[in-house]
Amino acid sequence: MEVLLKGRPIVPGIAKGTALVSTKPISFLGGVDPETGVVIEREHDLYGKSIKDSILCFPSGHGSTVGSFVLYSLARRGLAPRAIVNSVADSVVVVGAIIANIPMVDEIDITKINTGEVVEVDGGSGIIRIFRK
């Protein structure tokens, strides 16, 4: 079964991968280790998980604008998510996704996506396909 969600296109590009879904905002500065791609913020529901190659779904970004540069560093090291899906795009994540060239869509009800599902994101059209068994 295929489920379609339509959001707002932010950064173009098509990516397919496994969803990693969080209910908490992410601050890339201090929240994700740029050397490993692992979430290091202790209070976070993704604590200890790697965001590498995931379709990373979270409500919004927050925190320092340096977070944009962390996404760039992750991408340079091959540790970035394949795509980013947000409820509400925040400028820190948007700028990070642009400079790291990560497809991104927002205005998505991310509670409709479950961790582990295979998802395809089209950052140019804003369409997200969830492939359910």
Binding site: V66, F69, V94
Partner: protein, 390 residues
């Protein structure tokens, strides 16, 4: 968003990757926040300079911009770094930190960005009224909008850098007259006298206001150094971009926030986490004006800083030079007048500091979080009493 032919060429990459990525950032932010076009800016002020704050993440991006030919199109200044290279106390820091910090400042300089390394670029060159800016550093943003009537959004490091390379910013938010009106009224009934009181008031108001613009009545002084403390604090506990002073003509349709003595007292109590005596007394957040350094010199003249306390007065190289007579007085008393950095963005613990005393509400708010030190928050006069032997 409407782009001119020239802007479209940059967007399509005809001038190289550095300008293309900068243009993409500005256009996307403009799309998100409803801008219809880009507008020219008078200057950009870039945050994200201290290696303590930004770490390694931006170095690769800055180097890539530089290598693809990125150079600034307008005057661009930088926020404080982590080190004053002219002051021997910073040689105590690990060599790796010293080297990385220098590499960051050099990358900015090679792109044509001035190594002003101060959070108060407006003392070096005051922005003209009505000029559009792309400034990061929240304390400078609120000061530029409120004191100089220059027009800037609260930018972050990357967007201010992109604006510096393009020479433009998307026209939204505080660049539009309709978004510069006040939407909350503040009535100060508390006795607000010292610069520290203004800072405490700012912390209290920032929490309530969030990102709203207030009209504040009931303040006895409009001393710009005091207002600098209030603004910096409002932009710390909240994200207030601008304030007005004066009495409202009508009070209809606006929330009224009343501030009483006990509200200010609560802020003092919350910001002070230390009972022990400080090992660092820090003045200069935001960086000191010429007048503030003059006041410090007059308070400290003929006295000696205690042997077990450090006194740091932080400012820009520009102001330090202008204040050379006062600097001599402060240094003769055993204080340090430090440039290019401040207590918040340097490695305090590595420099042996556990407890800090300051008259800056912004520093008192941040230092326990970012520097893991204990804080005493009080007035400049109290700070000088704590620093000096009897």
């Amino acid at each position: 968003m409407y782009l001119t032919k020239e802007e479209e060429k940059i967007y399509d990459g005809e001038l190289g990757w550095a300008y293309q990525i900068s243009m993409r950032i500005l256009v996307k932010l403009g799309d998100l926040y409803g801008a219809e076009r880009l507008i020219p800016i008078g200057s950009a002020h870039i945050s994200g300079v201290s290696y303590k704050t930004i770490n390694d993440a931006p170095i690769e991006f800055l180097r890539a911009l530089l290598e693809s030919g990125g150079r600034v199109k307008v005057k661009a200044t930088t926020n404080p770094s982590g080190i004053d290279y002219s002051n021997p106390i910073f040689t105590l820091l690990p060599a790796e930190l010293i080297g990385k910090q220098k590499a960051i400042v050099d990358l900015y300089k090679e792109m044509g960005i001035e190594d002003s390394l101060t959070c108060t670029p407006y003392y070096i060159e005051p922005p003209k009224s009505g000029t559009h800016l792309s400034w990061a550093e929240s304390s400078a943003v609120i000061y530029a909008n409120s004191i100089f009537n220059a027009w800037t959004n609260r930018e972050g490091g990357p967007s201010a850098l992109a604006s510096a390379l393009i020479g433009k910013t998307p026209n939204y938010g505080l660049h539009m007259p309709e978004n510069r009106r006040f939407s909350a009224l503040v009535k100060v009934e508390a006795a607000i006298r010292s610069e520290a009181d203004y800072g405490a008031l700012g912390i209290y108001l920032g929490k309530i206001l969030g990102n709203r613009i207030p009209l504040i009545s009931g303040l006895s002084s409009r001393d710009e150094d005091f207002l600098k403390q209030m603004g910096a604090a409002m932009a710390t506990s909240g994200s207030v971009p601008m304030f007005y002073l004066g009495k409202p003509e009508t009070v209809e349709a606006h929330e009224i926030i009343t501030v009483e003595n006990r509200d200010i007292q609560n802020v003092y109590e919350n910001l002070s986490s230390a009972l022990e005596k400080p090992d660092l007394v820090f003045i200069g957040c935001p960086h000191c004006s010429l007048n503030e350094i003059k006041t410090i010199a007059s308070l400290i003249k003929g006295r000696k800083v205690k042997s077990d306390v450090k006194l740091w007065v932080c400012t820009s190289r520009f102001i330090r030079k202008k204040a050379s007579d006062y600097v001599r007085v402060i240094e003769a008393s055993g204080g340090q007048v430090i440039c290019d950095t401040c207590a918040v963005v340097t490695w305090l613990r590595d420099l042996g500091i556990d407890t800090l005393m300051t008259n800056s509400a912004k520093t008192a708010y941040y230092a326990p979080l970012t520097n893991k030190v204990k804080v005493v928050f009080s007035t400049l006069k109290d700070c000088m009493i704590a620093a000096c032997a009897e």
